[in-house]
Symmetry: C2
């Protein structure tokens, strides 16, 4: 078997997915649009999102430039000691990772800010057309992102044939994702909370009312937070899972002088994208369908196709069936985590009803019960990840030394195989959310609003599922990265004539030291992001109050009077840019400090503590946030006194707390744990050679 | 050196502390009391607390009886295989642990429900006398509990000379503490939340107003939750720290055929109690002192005396100075954790002010900012524990194999050496809180209320500090218990001709599996307790509404009309008893399940995950709860609009959320991690022999 054919095949599938994404974009583009109000508001949203992205990327370019320089100087070995070519290729790989990640966000925004308008207008011709516009808008990003990550990974690996360079590529992707997710998350929740507080709570005007100066910023936020941010996040996890698997596969293949494991990783990743292509192509609402069912159906189809295609490939190319089993287990657990997240956040299920009921005793009980069910919600996911890692390991252990950890890495690859479909589903959410806002502001009438509301509600349910999935995928990936870190340490140790290490013993005090500090990091990181939202929202609320005070006729809704939407967008942008850097840098600085204090053992503990507490907090925050959001919606639909009741007010408090939980801190933790794992691997040689203890 | 002399010396100091406690009780008893209302309400509180304890102990006796039988049948080896004597002594040691723990709670309640009356009445003769009554009331329990734990530990060890029997004794103490802390915590917060919601919020009557049917239950709750529960908790940590150190010392001494390490443990523990005795004796308010300063001063005195006495002993008896260093580091870190908790919860500091300020934007911001600072607050404590464990280990490592872990155990012993003083400070809190209630209900007038308010405020500050201390102590103790577990596993392995294990490698999938599940347990445990409070408070609120509706003249305060206080006490009692068992059993069941699934490696990971996430959540919940409480008090003192403002209402929501955080779930996690660690050690042989993976 020639590895090169598989490179070409994977690249072919990636290009196919670009073509399909382009076709989908053309499909959306040709949909009719006639309402001028919608067009002009849509343009405002698009401009706001692009302005934010431009400013954000400008800040990040400085960071990436500095990191690129440092990488060139120091990685994989200090440039004055090793080869310039190696360092150059490492820094170029890093740069490629950041650029593709940025491009992915840009494409997502590009498609989403067209699709939102078309979804709103298509709603006039029925829910099935409207659904198709929303879903295909999301799929443009889904397919473009996953195509790019596959193509990028294959190219970097084909050129360098080196796992470490791939880690550099992956680090580029995830360092950008870290800041993009945090920045977008702060932007979106600043706008959302401020709009709700001043509009819904203080003035009693509906959501998306055009009088509210923050309403455009809120819609921009959906795009920059949920489209660009989530795209960057899943791009990062996808690359990291492939990188971890390829590092381990390269080591395994080198010792046996063959290439089958590398081929398997690339083949499976390519088949995952192919399955997503088919799944996306098949997604539509049939008669009597609801949109949630349509989204779920295409996810299950993708899953089934992946199982089938990989089984065929395993048979044809003589891959190990045990490793196939590990991948399928990973995929299966991803689905279980999704179902568990759905249970805890779906408004047809008990937890949402109980939190809604508890709200009748006041906001304190909304919070207490939401936190409690949020805590419960981590159990199925943590158990699922624990069992999948254990089973994948035990399944592949008989294949020989090193295969056990490779099994875990392939479980992560399996879980992330359907990521194209997942991103498409996820981006559907903010698009239909935007469409709802446009329908409201464009005065399309109650019938149309009912259609967009139904699409939006499906978006919320699916968002909780994809978030759980993203967290689980990051979890498995970083376990595999822990294996990659160990492998990097041992390679470095062999090069420097030092003894290697077998693992990280908890009874070693350096490991335990790292464990405790690593566990604290996600909490500190989340706290910094949440306080960022807090501070930023206070600034924006002040600005909204000012506008209502100073712009005559605004609060009464005098025709022709429009608020200064741009000011709110500017505040959200400036605040997000100011707040996004410290949290990410703190996590990176903690990793480096622990490495130089306690050495590679401390880092092993640090990564473990970081994974464990990161998973715990990310699952808790995402699910509790989703739960509060839907409890509020459940009450708004008429339960426990409905809109305007005291119970509803209590639920709104829960929702406001949940907003930065689920859309800022929770999902950013994924990226934080990936970034930290990659840094550790990249700097392993320094931690090995220079540490205090 | 004869070990026996040290046994006698330690027993002597324990008996001295009983005598001193008895003298303190006499001192309180002879203080004048004349107000009949206070006497009758005081009697109600005392009866309520005793009734609860009686019912709680009845439930726990059944549990303890069953556990005792199981221990007799299976531990240390199945009775049909090993020796009946060993199993009998193990089950008796367990029983002794439970009985002393129960007795400690009983004595605490006994002293506290006398001291509360005397503190209220002494306030009429000045704050200094009143302080002395409150502090000495708490010290009765402090000295009795620590005397009992020292005496019990020495007796069990002197009789059996066996570390495993000591683990049985410790398990008895902590299994009772687990349920006592959970039960008391549910009781107290049920009553507190219900009283606040119906009294302060709905009716606008002051705290401790005698019209409120829940007011007596609230005061009973302070006693059963904060006095009996906290006493049981620290008793348990103290015993566990000594047990872990003695298990390791016995193993070290056996290999060298000497007794110096065992002697050192006993000597240090005894000197800790002696230091606390002196510290308690010296505690008083001098002129111009405030009560917080007085409490802190005596803690620092105790710390200083302990350093001095142990240095003298180390010199005289030729102990290792490195181990002395480890103990002092533990003590020092305990103080740092206390200071950090104080910073995040003290109303003179920035976090409380910022949360109060955020509350002006509504309750959602109270919650978000409180959660954020709660997350921040874990950093100094986690870092402190991490560094102290690392330094203690490195300091003692040169002494030879096994000494490093012993160093960590001695750091825990050092930290807990001043526990007598800590419990005294802690029990002072609920006593002066009660005294404030009695002064209000006994109509002693505003001047007296000002005195009791000042004492109460000091109690709140000190409570946060002691809670942080208790969590830190449990953290270090369970790290040492992890060492004890490893030692037990290897002993068992040697007996069964199996290979021993060196440690727990994170890269071993069984360890990682355990790690993830272990980390989930404290979250689930907390959620169950919080939902227990939630459900129970809803029942009690219904009852209070019924009384206000049905008892004529109650809400208007018609003279002679009294509410049915007993009904509320009964509801709190019944609910607490119903809710306390499932959470504890779930934690125990998870341990056993993981042990039989993944074996000793999985348990090593499980304990580690449990410690890490337990510390994280316990610190977060305790500190966030204290922060919200004091932010509310800070606003009540006049900031941001003061009492009755919207800001105040938002702060009350924070306080209500914080109540079960800081007084139910947070501090119960300590005990949960200790219980789980002890069970793991006790069942190690079964996990070694019978497991699936």
């Amino acid at each position: 078997m020639m590895l090169r054919y598989f490179f070409l095949g994977a690249a072919g599938i990636a290009i196919l997915s670009f073509l399909f994404a382009a076709w989908l974009y053309r499909f959306i583009k040709q949909l009719p649009a006639s309402n001028e109000t919608i067009a002009s508001i849509g343009a405002l949203i698009r401009d706001g999102a692009n302005t934010f992205l431009k400013k954000e990327y400008f800040v990040l370019a400085k960071f990436a430039g500095a990191a690129c320089l440092l990488i060139f100087l120091f990685l994989p070995t200090p440039v004055w000691r090793g080869s310039v070519i190696n360092n150059l290729s490492m820094s170029l790989a890093y740069l490629a990772g950041t650029c593709i990640s940025a491009l992915a966000g840009k494409i997502g925004i590009f498609a989403a800010t067209t699709a939102n308008i078309k979804t709103a207008e298509s709603a006039q011709t029925g829910i099935r057309n409207s659904f198709l516009a929303g879903f295909r808008g999301g799929a443009v990003m889904g397919l473009a992102v996953v195509g790019a990550s596959l193509l990028g990974t294959v190219l970097v690996y084909a050129i360098t044939r080196d796992g470490t360079a791939l880690l550099g590529f992956s680090f580029g992707a995830s360092s950008l994702a870290l800041f993009a997710k945090a920045g977008g998350g702060i932007f979106t929740k600043t706008a959302d909370i401020s709009a709700d507080l001043t509009g819904k709570v203080e003035l009693g005007i509906p959501e998306d009312d055009p009088r509210n100066p923050a309403v455009i910023a809120d819609n921009v936020g959906d795009n920059v937070g949920d489209v660009a941010g989530m795209g960057a996040d899943l791009f990062d996890s996808h690359v990291a899972s492939m990188a971890a698997a390829l590092v381990l596969a390269t080591a395994l293949d080198a010792s046996a002088n063959r290439k089958i494991n590398v081929i398997m990783v690339i083949c499976y990743a390519a088949l995952g994208l192919l399955s997503s292509l088919i799944g996306v192509g098949l997604a539509r609402m049939n008669k009597n369908d609801n949109p949630t069912a349509a989204l779920n159906f295409s996810t299950y189809v993708t899953t089934g196709i992946f199982c089938l295609l990989t089984a065929v490939a395993t048979y044809l190319f003589d891959f190990e069936w045990r490793i196939w089993g590990a991948s399928i287990i990973g995929l299966f657990v991803g689905v279980i985590i999704g179902i568990a997240s759905d249970y805890f956040t779906n408004d047809l299920r008990k937890p949402v009803h109980l939190v809604a009921k508890a709200s009748s005793a006041g906001p304190a009980f909304t919070i207490l019960s939401g936190i409690s069910y949020g805590f419960f919600s981590i159990l199925p996911s943590m158990t699922g990840i624990a069992f999948s890692a254990l089973i994948a390991y035990k399944l592949c252990e008989p294949l020989g030394s090193g295969y056990a950890m490779f099994g875990i890495a392939m479980a992560a690859v399996g879980m992330l195989s359907i990521v194209g479909m997942i991103i498409s589903n996820d981006a559907y959410g903010p698009i239909v959310d935007n469409a709802r806002g446009l329908a409201e502001m464009g005065n399309l009438g109650d019938d149309i609003l009912r259609v967009t509301d139904e699409l939006d509600s499906a978006g919320n349910t699916v968002k909780a599922v994809t978030k759980g999935f993203a967290i689980g995928a990051a979890g498995l990936t970083v376990i595999a990265l822990l294996g990659a870190f160990l492998s990097e340490v041992n390679t470095a140790a062999a090069e420097h004539g030092l003894p290697g290490i077998d693992g990280f013993d908890i009874m070693n005090p350096s490991v335990f030291f790292g464990l405790l500090i690593g566990a604290a990091v996600p909490a500190i990181f989340s706290a910094m992001l949440m306080l960022g939202v807090d501070r930023n929202a206070q600034r924006m609320v002040d600005e909204i109050h000012r506008q209502f005070r100073e712009i005559e006729g605004l609060s009464e809704g005098k025709p022709g009077v429009v608020p200064e939407y741009e000011r709110c967008i500017e505040i959200a942008t400036a605040g997000a840019l100011r707040e996004l850097v410290p949290a990410g840098l703190a996590a990176i600085a903690a990793t480096i400090a622990v490495g130089f204090i306690g050495g590679v053992n401390a880092i092993g503990g640090f990564l473990t503590g970081n994974i464990v507490s990161g998973l715990l907090l990310a699952l808790f925050m995402s699910n509790a946030g989703g739960l509060w959001d839907n409890a509020k919606k459940y009450i708004e639909a008429g339960a426990h006194g409905g809109k305007g009741s005291e119970t509803h007010k209590a639920a709104v408090v829960g929702d406001t707390v949940g907003d930065p939980f689920k859309d800022t801190a929770g999902p950013s933790i994924n990226t934080q744990i990936t970034v930290v794992s990659l840094i550790a691997s990249l700097l392993s040689v320094f931690f090995l050679l220079y540490s205090i203890f």
